[in-house]
Symmetry: C2
Amino acid sequence: MVRREVTRVFTPGTLLEEALLPARENNFLCALILNNEHWGLAHGDVSTGEFRLTQAQGIDMLTQELLRIQPAEIILPVETPDLVGLLRPGESAGKIPAGLPIQFTYTLQPYRLFQGTNARQTLLETYGLKSLEGLGCDGLPLAVQAAGGLLGYLANNQGHYQTGLQLPHTYFVSEYMRLDQQTRRNLELTQTVREGAFHGSLLWAIDRTMTGMGARLLRRWLLQPLLEIQAISARLDTVAELVNRGGLRQRVREHIKQIYDLERLLGRVQAGTANARDLLALAASLFAIGRLAQVLDNVKSKYLQNLQIVPSELEALAERIRQLLVEAPPVTLTEGGVIRPGVDGELDRLKQTLTEDQNWIAQLEITEKIRTGIATLKVGFNKTFGYYISITRAKSEQAPADYIRKQTLTNEERYITPELKEREIRILTLQTEINQREYELFLQLRQAVSLQQNLIRPLAQKVAAVDVLAGFAEVAVMYNYQCPEIMAGRELHIKQGRHPVVEQLLPAGCFVPNDTHLGMGIDLMILTGPNASGKSCYLRQVGLIQMLAQIGSFVPLLQAKISICDRIFTRVGAVDDLATGQSTFMVEMCETANILHHATDRSLVLLDEIGRGTATFDGLAIAWSVAEYLAFYLKCRGIFATHYHELNELANTLKNVANYQVVVQELADQIVFLHQVQPGGADRSYGIEAGRLAGLPPVVINRAREIMHRIEQHSQITLGLQNY
Amino acid sequence: MVRREVTRVFTPGTLLEEALLPARENNFLCALILNNEHWGLAHGDVSTGEFRLTQAQGIDMLTQELLRIQPAEIILPVETPDLVGLLRPGESAGKIPAGLPIQFTYTLQPYRLFQGTNARQTLLETYGLKSLEGLGCDGLPLAVQAAGGLLGYLANNQGHYQTGLQLPHTYFVSEYMRLDQQTRRNLELTQTVREGAFHGSLLWAIDRTMTGMGARLLRRWLLQPLLEIQAISARLDTVAELVNRGGLRQRVREHIKQIYDLERLLGRVQAGTANARDLLALAASLFAIGRLAQVLDNVKSKYLQNLQIVPSELEALAERIRQLLVEAPPVTLTEGGVIRPGVDGELDRLKQTLTEDQNWIAQLEITEKIRTGIATLKVGFNKTFGYYISITRAKSEQAPADYIRKQTLTNEERYITPELKEREIRILTLQTEINQREYELFLQLRQAVSLQQNLIRPLAQKVAAVDVLAGFAEVAVMYNYQCPEIMAGRELHIKQGRHPVVEQLLPAGCFVPNDTHLGMGIDLMILTGPNASGKSCYLRQVGLIQMLAQIGSFVPLLQAKISICDRIFTRVGAVDDLATGQSTFMVEMCETANILHHATDRSLVLLDEIGRGTATFDGLAIAWSVAEYLAFYLKCRGIFATHYHELNELANTLKNVANYQVVVQELADQIVFLHQVQPGGADRSYGIEAGRLAGLPPVVINRAREIMHRIEQHSQITLGLQNY
């Protein structure tokens, strides 16, 4: 509104304020540069110091990567930054490169920040490096450009604050299972589809971390499942050890609970906003890690062994913090009261002198009364004139010659003496010097912390990993999860699998477990059954178990062999998108086309109700053709839930297709949902029954039954594919 | 993390920081109290001062009201506030009263804030009232309790900041068209369904406001369409006047553009955070309103006439601000430089004295050099000792007797004299006094602004209304909207209607307009046609035109008679909700049941694809029965889009049902979408063609065609209702 001087510019991607940031999520600033199909992406969180780079090609993959990161702000290079001023409110979306997701906040920045040589220089200077080789981004020019743009933007906007981003970590999108936004959404990994709520998501169900660092790491792991058996096994081994040794798990979690958010604390140290309380929290955390290390003396798994040794420098640092700072320091740093006595000779001397001067003034009233013989003489202090000697008007002519008249009031005269003023100045000066000295000592201490950041950050990350894995163990014990056997082939064997979220939302023991066997003979399940009987739940349960296994968690089932998937595809529900001119059915078809083009025999494909939203015959023909393509051409493992009971015929012609149904018990006047998945195809959907349960007026239900009866009498749907 | 002293608690609902608040949306804090089915709700925005109360019954209506308001934070009374500490992260949702939307942030507060007598007393005291009668909430005890709870919470949390909420405005939910969340969502009023983006929403299409106040008011109007013809006409008349008088419209908009966000400025004045620049912005805005008033000298419509007179007190206030404050004041208020010379005698006198003292010190070096005969004598200043006289060590024995030695350096001695110290203290004192005086004068000025808030707020609201209406006029001219004839009956007559959003997303002139005639003979349209031909677009276009008319906007069409609707219902697409155990089809049926239970013959019902998601025969029977119920029992106006071509038979038996189709042109190898809605029923859906366009692999398409051919040969669906 009104132009102000820039000290530090608040932007969504550069917030450091604890109160405005969710503790358990990152707040990422992204920088992005495009070069035809190729792109470089840097993302950093100034509140935690995390900083990652990557480079790849394909606008679709970029979009998916942005949707995974969920940046608070994305900066883009532009040749003509004036553009920004011309936008309609909220319209920035229209001006960004086509294909990028429009729901994010984009900030256009001068291209020179991103320019190759500049960007490289920015990186080298920021981290005092001679070469980028050690960062692994040497052959990734666009990643370097993005990183330079990001650092340059921070330098311009943060004024005197340091960026505080750690050395960037280079990663490749191909290291992880590819999850598109559709699948993240449909599997409700971090929020529910309908309400967008955390409550009811997979993350909600499995997050038992106790630190913000752990919570953020878990979110990252969840959105980047692993592809290598060895890496998965390292996590699973740790979980297993913590599951099997209950006492160890409890002690580990008790100690982790006492660790503060080291990443955010360090972020504030780097930004120069950490106060004395923050340093004490950091010291307390380092001590807690030390105690944790002692608990871990005879552990076997890698992640736990990583925490057995706390660098002695950090123990010394924690000790130094505790020795220097008082137990309950004030929030402000420039008004003293922060440093313990006995720490600094000069500081102690200044405080001693101050005490003496203060005593001298305290004594002055007595000595001057004696000297002058004026009993009513007083020494006072006021804000504008400082210390003064006050004598009632009546006695004022008895004032000694060295008194300098300063102020005349109705009943009194106020004086100063050079000596009094000198003491006053000394007191003020001393107070200032003490405060300065305390502040200096504090800054030295903070600097000492800052210098150890390269020891603290890796330690924090190790703690975060153990926090996540101990949380996995806790969930495993609480809900009776088992360790999956991770395999290299295509076999997916789930005995008594359960949906991890729905199970927790139901009363204990109510969830009906079900088996799944895919990849050994049968690749595609055709799943039929009544409405609301649990087809979608079963479908997603299989996807979620696969996910959990690949992030290294135990899984909700009795026994499992799980082979690595390269991708999980889902098509569940759809909404249209008038803004881009796509009808619901078109959206469904586009998503299906995407799956058919990209699925491999290592993928898991979960399809719910393909072919709805068009006329019956069209829909059935498409559903049939798609199922056939999946089973016959792609041979990917998959589940195809449908109300087209006619699809059950497919199993007659394709060997790797099998029919399953969710069974119900039909009573006189109602149906009972058993939620059991069994071999065989269903022949009824009980849609009208579902309508009755949903509260459609009785007259509508009765009429629908009547119409249904007539349709059944007069209609038939036959594929006539017997000769296929 | 670390406990700190409370000065002001940051909570999502009490933010004042400009940088963290979207300028064009409110940031509402809600307080809510439930008493069985009855509830009271208060919502306020501390950044703008808006404060509204209501009371009603029914948890469903409450939920809808909360979803409309989209509060940043909701406070609820609780007897045992300890509860809060026990929650898992993100789990607060589970502990709030059943039925409330879980996506909001809830804060539990002690019940005493909400207790009847306390709450009443809080309201009376906050606004210095004797009775609540004037607020219109006298007979609404729960609304008063909610308001008291909200004010009490603010008082506890804002520390020394004032709340700054204006006198509460009481409203009734029944004054406005009821829009449930489903309909707000499906019609994409403020964000798109798929991406949740502003770009592509109705608000995006019609928002041409130029102030934050206008943007916020438009959002409120959009979510609360009117029910009274007179009120709607008042808005339409203003739009018409601004459409017809192009020069006037341009001048009005030019002047409004110069008006800052008075509500937020006033919010900061009330909170005591407004600085000198804010007051200047306020003054500039008041001057701009004065110029606007002059432009409006011969206008006819109510909203414009409302702005013809600017209270003379406000002109005087603006003048006073401009006279007092310098043109470009600093951000800080306590370091002077804010007030013009010539404004305050005392201030000018202090500044004069300061200048004299500063000159005295500037002269001192010369006078002392002459007095002592020491040519190298200097007067200096340092931070700890203040002013001093410096003499080189060699000449130090020549120092006069009245010099007091202060500091000894290697090559110089530093002295003070009582006179110098006295001047120094005077200078410091004067500087402090000047700063204090300036600050006092500024506070008086800010207080003067604060005292006029009851004049400024209504003026700001009038400006906001004209901003919205001038924006409507701008859109009307730009996109050739017309003024609808608003009627009392049931007639809905649209000639060449267009979808306001899709039209703007297509190249100019590409959108194909279509007619709609309902309520005169025909109540229910059965709409068939191919996938992606535009059925959903047409359906929503009718709903959006109805909406626009009832918020007082011109509408995108050639000619229209539009009768008032009590509610608009939509059922378009659906997603399941595993967290509450609802399958997609159950969600669809629940929404349908809700419509059938609540629609009246004054409602507009828009149904897209009822009966999908179950087996063909079930779905067809339900669709038929629902359509029949709408047309025969409820007689509401509606459009029923479907791929069940069998529903075309309904028109044979029910007089108020008619068949329409979106026509396509069938060429040899493809179909051309004409997007024209014409009488008659379609008999094909071209689903496979849609799949081809979406990019399904050719082998899948060809196979689907083959299967389709066989199905058509061997199957039939007949309702057999000929004897109905």
